[in-house]
């Protein structure tokens, strides 16, 4: 078949850092359809989310190169869009993409505007030349800024270390274990004998969905990696309740549903800024402190499971911003419209298990994070309050908040210090 007319090639996108291939779920357009730029062309499935991939140009859909259900590596051509008169652009598009990346790295003024530490001209140039994400570089300059020396030191370590096997490398670029003949029990293809039917009780065997399997694997891994310890605080939410009552309607007029979650996220963000040790990950016999504060909020998907979309740079958002983000992520999570990247990069997780009536819980840490905060049921309770040395009974709107933390990285004292800050922020909300 002849492909002499000018065509634009649609390629399988890289839908996340850890993604090397994608499965074509559903073609949303058929051969011969007119296609507008940014119009959804197909759905692509990864193991957690299904994402719409949009057309990169307008034209006529000429050819679908892979059927539904096909799994193709990232960057593979998957469709051809023809556009009479338009130049087929491969190289130019890539050049544009590269230019954009360089430009972004080269604007220190832009960085200054968002309140990050200042990037000097030489640091900006070197970062662009070497493709360095400055948030990965430890800054020793004034105010924690990254200096030229810091960049040089970073380059030295980067040159020496062999890139650790991550999913970013192609399969044949990832080193093997070096162990050739493992016991056959560890080899694939050993047909497992069916469980003896006579021993099982009456019932039904439900096969695992991809999500359930992923959750199961993650939970087992998390528990075996981290020594889990929980500390529980009782938080007086009176002021939060009052603030919410006073502002709910105004937020609703802006199209934002104000729940308790944004308050919790805000308090957590403040706590993480004050106690950076909690905003961390275990990294091969060292503790990595994260600069950004990315807070994940667990969203229940009913019987299907749960998912944790991440609010990036939560410390930079005010309550309205947080509320918007929470609404948007939760809504899209329930409609299964999250992008894979939106579940990545979290540095802390909040789970509002109290909405289903639970008082307090000891959740499992969302790896590779250091801790997870469980907010229990918000209810009125009777408390003893002391005023000028006199005890009396009061009715307060209280919430048990538990911090389950990885005891490799944190001790009880630092965990409690963090929780004390969170408690103080919530109890002193204005």
């Amino acid at each position: 078949m002849s492909l002499d007319i000018m065509t634009t090639t649609v390629r399988m996108p890289k839908l996340g850092e850890s993604v090397v291939e994608g499965k074509i779920g559903r073609w949303l357009k058929q051969v011969g359809d007119a296609v507008r730029e940014f119009e959804p062309l197909l759905e692509v499935e990864t193991d957690k989310v299904t994402t719409e991939v949009t057309a990169t140009t307008a034209g006529t859909l000429l050819q679908l190169l892979h059927p539904e259900g096909a799994i193709v590596p990232v960057d593979t051509p998957i469709a051809l869009i023809g556009s009479a008169g338009a130049e087929k652009s491969l190289a130019p598009a890539e050049a544009v993409a590269r230019t954009i990346a360089v430009d972004q790295a080269r604007s220190p003024l832009a960085a200054r505007a968002t309140g990050q530490s200042w990037v000097s001209p030489v640091v900006g140039r070197m970062a662009a030349e070497h493709g360095i994400d400055l948030s990965n570089v430890a800054g020793t300059g004034e105010g924690g800024r990254v200096t030229k020396k810091d960049i040089l030191a970073f380059l030295k370590t980067r040159a020496v270390t062999v890139p650790a096997p991550t999913d970013e490398l192609a399969a044949w670029e990832q080193p093997g274990t070096g162990e050739l003949f493992r016991p056959s029990e560890e080899q694939p293809g050993t047909p497992v004998s069916a469980p003896p039917a006579s021993n099982s009780t009456a019932g039904e065997t439900i096969p695992l969905t991809a999500m359930r399997r992923a959750i199961a694997e993650h939970m087992v891994r998390s528990v075996s990696a981290s020594p889990h310890v929980t500390t529980v605080f009782d938080v007086d939410l009176s002021r939060v309740v009052a603030h919410r009552q006073a502002n709910k309607a105004a937020y609703a007029r802006d199209g934002v549903n104000l729940t308790y979650t944004p308050y919790f996220v805000g308090a957590i963000a403040a706590g993480l800024k004050r106690h950076p040790a909690v905003n961390s990950s275990w990294a091969n016999n060292a503790v990595r402190l994260h600069k950004p504060v990315n807070i994940g909020v667990a969203v229940s998907l009913g019987e299907d499971g749960l998912i944790v979309p991440v609010i990036r740079d939560a410390d930079a958002l005010n309550l309205l911003g947080l509320a918007r983000a929470v609404n948007d992520l939760a809504e899209r999570a329930r409609r299964r419209q999250l992008k894979p990247d939106e579940t990545q990069g979290g540095t802390f997780t909040l789970t509002n298990h109290g909405t289903s009536g639970s008082l307090f819980a000891t959740p499992i840490i969302n790896q590779p994070q250091c801790a997870i905060l469980a907010a229990g049921k918000i209810e009125k309770r009777v408390l003893v309050v002391t005023h000028d040395g006199v005890d009396s009974v009061a009715i307060k709107t209280m919430c048990f908040m538990g911090l389950t933390f990885d005891h490799r990285m944190l001790d009880g004292a630092s965990a409690d210090a963090f929780m004390s800050t969170v408690k103080a922020v919530l109890e002193g909300w204005v």
Binding site: T76, W172, Q174
Partner: protein
């Protein structure tokens, strides 16, 4: 050592496009096997990535399916060119009953395909060389005109069997081409520690056979060198030791950790020598292929590999009786 032969012409454009399609099919299938291994779906894979241009060039110089091929485990592109399908290869990788190489008895990539006159790959290296000499001897004794092509890595040229086979080849002027796919590493042992000479072809004179060195990253140079050697062998002019310099873009096998002996810089430099982009650009520049055709070929290869993957993964395992036989004919 050089015989006077007429200059070998390059194949016509349609053939070049076919050869390119084979390069891509081999590469895509190879990549899929690595992914399958890293996904834990197959137990082992040993690769030919970086060897494809030499293999496709050389195998196209044979009368495929007529001449005899006694390959080694990296010769994926060659066995595909001799009639094995991607499904055939993957049936072997998955150890399924329909595996034409061995019915699931041998490890992956131990090819054998009788309909294409492809002989059985073994694990002890170099054993194919005296056997290939024997195939050629039988051809010579019975007056046949088929040529035997056998392939081996440069590490295996240290084995006694390599030298013994070349003794036979030289003494009897066998219709044999011994291809050494020199990727400069035998697992982790570099060429410097495998031989005290610069090129394997230097050995040829010692056995009284023709020695030829070729850039194995150049598909057409490999084709021309192989074609000349095969023509000479077929005409009764004797054997050639054809040494093709290639690159091993991957670790030795799926379980090798080559970070222990190849630096990150070396691997980056190696990747830049990948023969496939060079062949692609070359074929487009000489008008044998358009950009659109190349993209079409690449897309089709993936479709074919996908289908082969599904088919092989769903295929049944061999019955237990196949573990015990057949022992005797």
């Amino acid at each position: 050592m050089d015989t006077q032969t007429p200059a070998i012409a390059d194949p016509p454009a349609e053939t070049l496009a076919e050869m390119y399609a084979m390069l891509i099919l081999a590469r895509k299938l190879d990549e899929r096997c690595w992914i399958l291994h890293r996904q834990g779906k197959i137990g082992f894979h040993i690769s030919g990535m970086g060897h494809e241009a030499a293999q496709v060039g050389i195998v196209w110089a044979m009368r495929r399916g007529y001449d005899l091929l006694h390959p080694y485990y990296r010769d994926l592109a060659m066995v595909l060119a001799c009639g094995m399908s991607p499904t055939d290869v993957l049936l072997g990788s998955f150890g399924r009953q329909g595996d034409p190489s061995s019915g699931g008895r041998q490890m992956p990539n131990h090819y054998c395909y009788k309909p294409g006159n492809v002989f059985s790959v073994s694990s002890p290296v170099g054993t194919q060389l005296p056997q290939a000499a024997g195939l050629a001897l039988a051809e010579q004794l019975s007056g046949g005109d088929r040529v035997v092509v056998t392939c081996v890595g440069e590490g295996s040229t240290s084995e006694g069997d390599f030298h013994e086979a070349l003794v036979w080849a030289g003494v009897r002027k066998l219709p044999l081409v011994v291809v050494v796919e020199n990727n400069e590493y035998a697992i982790s042992v570099p060429m410097r520690q495998q031989m005290a000479i610069e090129r394997v072809s230097e050995r040829a004179g010692g056995y009284g056979v023709r020695g030829v060195s070729v850039d194995g990253l150049d598909m057409l140079a490999s084709y021309r060198a192989a074609r000349e050697a095969i023509d000479i062998a077929r005409a009764g002019g004797g054997s050639t030791l054809l040494d093709a310099r290639v690159v091993r873009l991957t670790p030795h096998s799926s379980d090798d950790n080559d970070a222990t002996y190849r630096s990150a810089e070396e691997k980056i430099a190696l990747k830049a020598r990948d023969p496939l982009p060079r062949v692609r650009a070359n074929l487009i520049a000489r008008g044998a292929l358009t950009e659109a055709q190349a993209l079409d070929i690449e897309a089709r290869a993936l479709i074919e590999v996908d289908a082969a993957h599904r088919a092989a993964e769903a295929a049944p395992y061999p019955p237990n009786a196949w573990a015990l036989g057949p022992v005797f004919a």
